[in-house]
């Protein structure tokens, strides 16, 4: 079509070209229907179901009894406490280890690209596969980890079989699994810091240690906040790794909310399971929302 032809075609239109109608709202509909039906509807329904005694056979409204039970039964409360332990320790671990790796992998070392890939790869591997592998590696008698520690003369702990230790051992593996993503996000943050800042600091005689705390850390705060938010949300929701490694055991010592939800569902206590879901939702909202709000305020 020629330019002339286009002009006349436009001139023939009685009203001015309304661009808005070329971005039709019905484009929202397919996504909206699936999301609304499969995600929003069950989420709202869970608010009601959490207030019922709901089993395979019947359903009865009981008010807040499920929630009361959650805070009174030790094996349910333990799951709540462990969820916090797991969420906070894994996100702290990922930020600290990830920051160290990010600094290392942005310095001028050889084989930097290869090392970045090696650190990142576990993120892509099936969590169940990782859980099974570390289950064997962490075997207290024959496991490779304790065998290696024995060579250095350390008597390795009972990683997964000790009730006190189990949740921390799983958290350690979660840090190993997820630190690659944290590292890459932090690397992106570090690379955005202009070199001039470091040059100026060097001219003023600042040590590497000072440069790290006075320049690197403050200026990569958005990246750190992102890593914290992501790992908190992931960590609080975690299920796969706990289930593959300990099934919440020994006893219920390493149960987290997500595994409690699964166990109560399996046992047929659907109301209690759903109450667990609602508590998990509130935990995430209470912990993550302030951080997200804080992050957004910083960006403006």
């Amino acid at each position: 079509m020629t330019l002339f032809g286009r002009r006349t075609a436009l001139a023939n239109q009685s009203r001015p070209l309304n661009l808005q109608s070329y971005y039709p709202l019905w484009f929202y509909v397919p996504a909206g229907v699936i999301y609304g039906l499969m995600f929003l509807l069950p989420t709202f329904a869970s608010l009601y179901f959490s207030l019922t005694r709901w089993t395979l056979f019947n359903q009865e409204f009981i008010g807040f009894e499920n929630f009361v039970e959650f805070f009174n039964e030790p094996f349910l409360l333990k799951g709540l406490v462990n969820t916090f332990i797991f969420g906070f320790s894994t996100s702290a671990g990922k930020v600290i280890v990830g920051m160290g790796l990010a600094v290392l992998l942005t310095s001028n070392i050889y084989m930097r690209g290869l090392l970045r890939s090696v650190v990142f790869f576990p993120v892509l591997v099936s969590t169940i596969g990782i859980g099974i592998t570390f289950n064997v590696l962490m075997d207290p008698q024959d496991g490779v980890i304790n065998a290696a520690l024995a060579i250095v003369g350390i008597d390795g702990p009972h990683w997964l079989t000790s009730p006190k230790m189990a949740i921390y051992s799983v958290a350690l593996v979660e840090i190993w699994r997820g630190v690659g993503l944290a590292t890459l996000i932090l690397i992106a943050g570090l690379m955005a810091i202009p070199d001039d800042f470091y040059e100026a600091a060097r001219l003023d005689g600042a040590s590497a240690w000072h440069q790290f705390w006075r320049i690197t850390v403050p200026l990569s705060r958005p990246a750190i906040a992102t890593v914290l938010t992501l790992s908190l949300i992931d960590g609080l929701r975690t299920f796969d790794l706990v289930w593959a490694m300990t099934r919440g055991g020994p006893g219920f010592s390493s149960d987290v909310l997500a595994s409690v939800i699964y166990k109560q569902y399996q046992a047929g206590f659907y109301g209690l399971s759903t109450a667990g879901n609602v508590i998990l939702f509130m935990v995430i909202a209470l912990v993550a929302l302030p951080i997200v709000a804080f992050l957004n305020r910083e960006e403006r």
Binding site: L19, S117, F121, L124, I284
Partner: protein, 275 residues
Amino acid sequence: MFSTRRLIISVVAFAGALVFFVVPFIFIALTAVKTKQEASLLQLTWPTETQLWQNLVAVIEARDFMMIQAFINSAIITVGSVTLIVLFSAMVGFVLNRRKTSWNKMIMFLVLSGLMIPPAIVPTIWLLQQLGIFRTLHSMVLVEVAYNISFGILLYRAFFSTIPRELDEAAIMDGAGPVTLFFKVMLPLLKPVTVTNIVVLSVIIFNDFVHPLYYLPGDDNVTIQLTLYNFQSMFNTSYNLLFMNVLVITVPMLIVFLIFNRQIVSGMTSGALKG
């Protein structure tokens, strides 16, 4: 002097990465080719006798070729849900970026909720039962779409802001309607971010364990992650087969990573930063 320091740090970093990040995978590979007796020692040693093929066949044949069925099921779920997510999230990202309405804030809130809120499990099962589609592959596809569409929308929305609006205007002047504008003009331009979306979403959905565990109980609809879970108890005396199973589901990820390294890294970090 400076370069010796650089060399030393490099060697230390390399050795550290080898011990912490590579050894577990070497352990998987070595145990997977050992004999049953040797694998049960759980040691990190070179196998005295390798039986790669024999173990592979044993894992594939186990429980009436369950592995094959699982691969097919996982492929159906992954391809089906990724296709729908790519199409529908591109449509949402397009309108969300181009049209400024009072709905935008609300929609962004829903998108971010989709990333944060843990899905309500039992009510979803109840809903699927009411609809009569519980334990079906297509219900799993719909659920994966609902749970992962937020990620796709964020990636697409960000990408659309890099496409100049003049292009839309030119297409509209050439007589394109909304559907032609989106499918014929925009969709081809989205190729880089679509590749990123496809790769990252495929990895996430292929590796999903929790949701098939809840929504696809039973042997007929078993997915690849569930096989591993089932074999964990079944093979607990045959570590060679258990680890061959781990190896079989790890190798595809390694291949995907080697080919799509750049897209995976950019998708996972940028999607994360925007979220």
